[in-house]
């Protein structure tokens, strides 16, 4: 395990030298902390209705104003972060795990399996996401779990495809052949030799995927296909504020800023992670 700790430290040292990546990391960590401690940090109950103070602008009582039901927007944004976090965490880890499994099966398994899986991936990817989401919601009714399910189903092919390509590129490498010559089983090779080598690109992809998933949740919730009525989510905040945009832009601005920050934070972080984890750019410090 000392190796892994060393690896993390090394990565972090390299990250510290990259100001953009560091900015990304700071944004990401801040957002994570704010949402994790939403229950402590929120000045109000995000569901508490106060009809006497509808649509007020920012003030000392309500830093980001209130919405059309007089709910505190700051509290709703903080709690909404929880939804975003839950969706991205669950959806990305499940689709990454499934994509990893299926992609490695396609990349390393027999040819017929590869063909079947690639056809499945491509079929799934060819559905327009919104149409797909609409039809699923029509069947099940809007809920957070439906959103997560939709995102998982549409993301698996993306991860699966990438894992498949990476695995295939790996499979004819000398070191994989050397393992086979030594008598290693396919499972052993996949776990100990393929996985560690494709993990880095996959993690980068996942970190860049967070904003997309958060945006997708917000989009679906904005269309009323996501979280149901009182639960705050960045998408539903935007949806609520949308009708009152002309009189009170606060809810829209407050719901939009975290989306922008998440996108920027994870993109900066992911990009700099990519540069750091690329073994060609690391290690010997370049060819002399």
């Amino acid at each position: 395990m000392t190796n892994r700790a060393g690896f993390v430290r090394e990565t972090f040292t390299a990250l510290r030298k990259d100001s953009l990546g560091m900015t990304g990391l700071v944004i990401v960590v801040t957002i994570l902390l704010l949402t994790l401690f939403a229950s402590i940090l929120s000045p109000y109950d995000p569901l508490e209705v106060d009809v006497y103070n509808r649509l007020v602008g920012p003030s000392w009582q309500h830093w980001l104003g209130t919405d059309q039901l007089g709910r505190d927007v700051l509290s709703r944004v903080l709690y909404g972060g929880r939804v975003a976090l839950k969706v991205s965490l669950v959806a990305i880890s499940v689709s990454m795990a499934a994509g990893l499994l299926l992609g490695m099966m396609a990349g390393f398994g027999p040819k017929w399996l590869d063909r079947v899986l690639v056809i499945c991936f491509d079929t799934l990817r060819s559905f327009p996401t919104i149409m797909f989401a609409l039809s699923i919601v029509a069947l099940t009714g809007p809920s957070l779990n439906t959103v997560i399910g939709i995102i998982i189903i549409t993301s698996i092919p993306v991860y699966g495809r990438i894992v498949r390509t990476q695995t295939q590129a790996m499979r004819d490498n000398d070191f994989i052949l050397a393992e086979r010559a030594m008598g290693a089983s396919t499972a052993h090779i996949l776990r100990h030799h393929v996985l560690p080598n494709i993990a880095a690109p996959l993690l980068i992809l996942a970190s860049m995927d967070v904003p997309a998933v958060v945006g997708m949740e917000a989009g679906l919730s904005f269309l009323g296909l996501g979280v149901s009525a009182p639960t705050p989510s960045w998408g539903s905040i935007l949806n609520d504020g949308y009708s009152y945009l002309r009189n009170s832009p606060w809810p829209i601005i407050a719901g939009g800023i975290p989306l922008i920050l998440v996108t920027l934070g994870f993109t900066f972080f992911g990009e700099s992670l990519r540069d750091i984890l690329d073994p060609k750019l690391r290690g010997k410090g370049g060819k002399f």
Binding site: G285, G286, K287, F288
Partner: protein, 320 residues
């Protein structure tokens, strides 16, 4: 005697690394006279690649030139503007690499690539094609007209290397730099290529800087040899002098290691003990001393310079 086409004088190059300054080349002197074939021998880490990069001015961004000059027909290449260097690279200095595919474009036909290199000429397309055909013929490619319409992957390794040489000679350069051009080839093809190079050198009169770690190839092809070790020239002179009468301990050991020179079959091949010095923290005195069997106290404190008029040796003990 003619002035050298390329004269590397007292060149020192180092790289800024995380550990400190890596001194890849130190006070290297290599004059290349017109029409001569000069071979550079040395093992990995001796600075061959850095030297080539310095000549064609394609050093890594973390490199710095500490001292010296590289004179091309009297002008210092290190002072030239990037545009002038680019013009020189295509026109006067050509290169052939170990892997011919690095200089051939896989998606263009041989003919197209060979006419493209003549872009500076004001000739008609047909004339350029005819020139390309003649050049392919001269490097020993059978049915050159047919080959013009083929793609690099249609050709065998030996043929590709010939095409790469033909392309390098299209502009009739003053200097051809060949970086291990035969390493990827087999013995029989290797011999064919080096004989062809010798022939072409006589026809075109260009100088050739030939880099290889294959001692036999150098001995067979080159007029002069430069032996490099850990970023320094340790011995240089005519091929005959250096190979028949090696005087630097490193050259001697290197030649001893060549299994081709050991006529009697042995299961115990000679090796050079120890390893290359750390180029960041160089030892004082002679750079080869830690691996040398005959070193004296002076070798520990004083770095030997390259001395001699024709056969030069950088060793305190060689003059005795």
């Amino acid at each position: 005697m003619d002035k050298p086409v390329l004269d590397i004088r007292d060149l020192s190059v180092s790289f800024l690394t995380e550990r400190g300054l890596l001194r890849a080349l130190r006070n290297v002197n290599i004059p290349i006279d017109p029409g001569r074939i000069v071979g550079i021998v040395g093992e990995s880490g001796c600075g061959k690649s850095t030297l080539i990069s310095a000549i064609i001015r394609l050093l890594a961004p973390n490199a710095q030139i500490d001292s010296g000059s590289i004179l091309w027909r009297g002008d210092d290449l290190l002072d030239l503007e990037p545009d002038a260097i680019r013009a020189l690279r295509g026109d006067e200095i050509s290169m052939v690499f170990q892997d011919p595919m690095t200089s051939l474009n896989p998606v263009l036909t041989i003919g197209r690539q060979m006419t493209d290199v003549q872009h500076r000429d004001n000739r008609s397309k047909a004339e350029k094609r005819a020139r390309a055909t003649r050049m392919l013929e001269r490097v020993g490619i059978p049915d050159p007209v047919e080959q013009l319409d083929r793609y690099p992957h249609h050709l065998s390794g030996g043929m590709r290397q010939r095409v790469a040489i033909a392309m390098a000679l299209m502009t009739e350069p003053g200097l051809l730099i060949a970086d291990e051009p035969t390493t990827a080839l087999d013995a029989t093809l290797e011999v064919q290529i080096i004989h062809r190079l010798q022939q072409l050198q006589r026809d075109f009169g260009c100088a050739i800087l030939f880099i290889s770690h294959h001692l036999g190839v150098i001995a067979e092809l080159c007029d002069e040899v430069v032996v490099m070790y850990a970023g320094e020239v340790v011995e240089s002179g005519s091929t005959r002098d250096v190979f028949l009468n090696p005087r630097h301990p490193y050259t001697q050991k290197l030649l001893d290691c060549d299994p081709a020179r050991i006529k009697k079959a042995t299961r115990n091949l000679p090796v050079i003990g120890g390893s290359l010095p750390d180029l960041v923290e160089l030892p004082d005195g002679c750079v080869f001393r830690p691996r040398c069997d005959i070193s004296i106290d002076r070798c520990r404190s004083e770095r030997p310079g390259l001395e001699g008029s024709n056969h030069c040796i950088a060793c305190h003990l060689a003059r005795q």
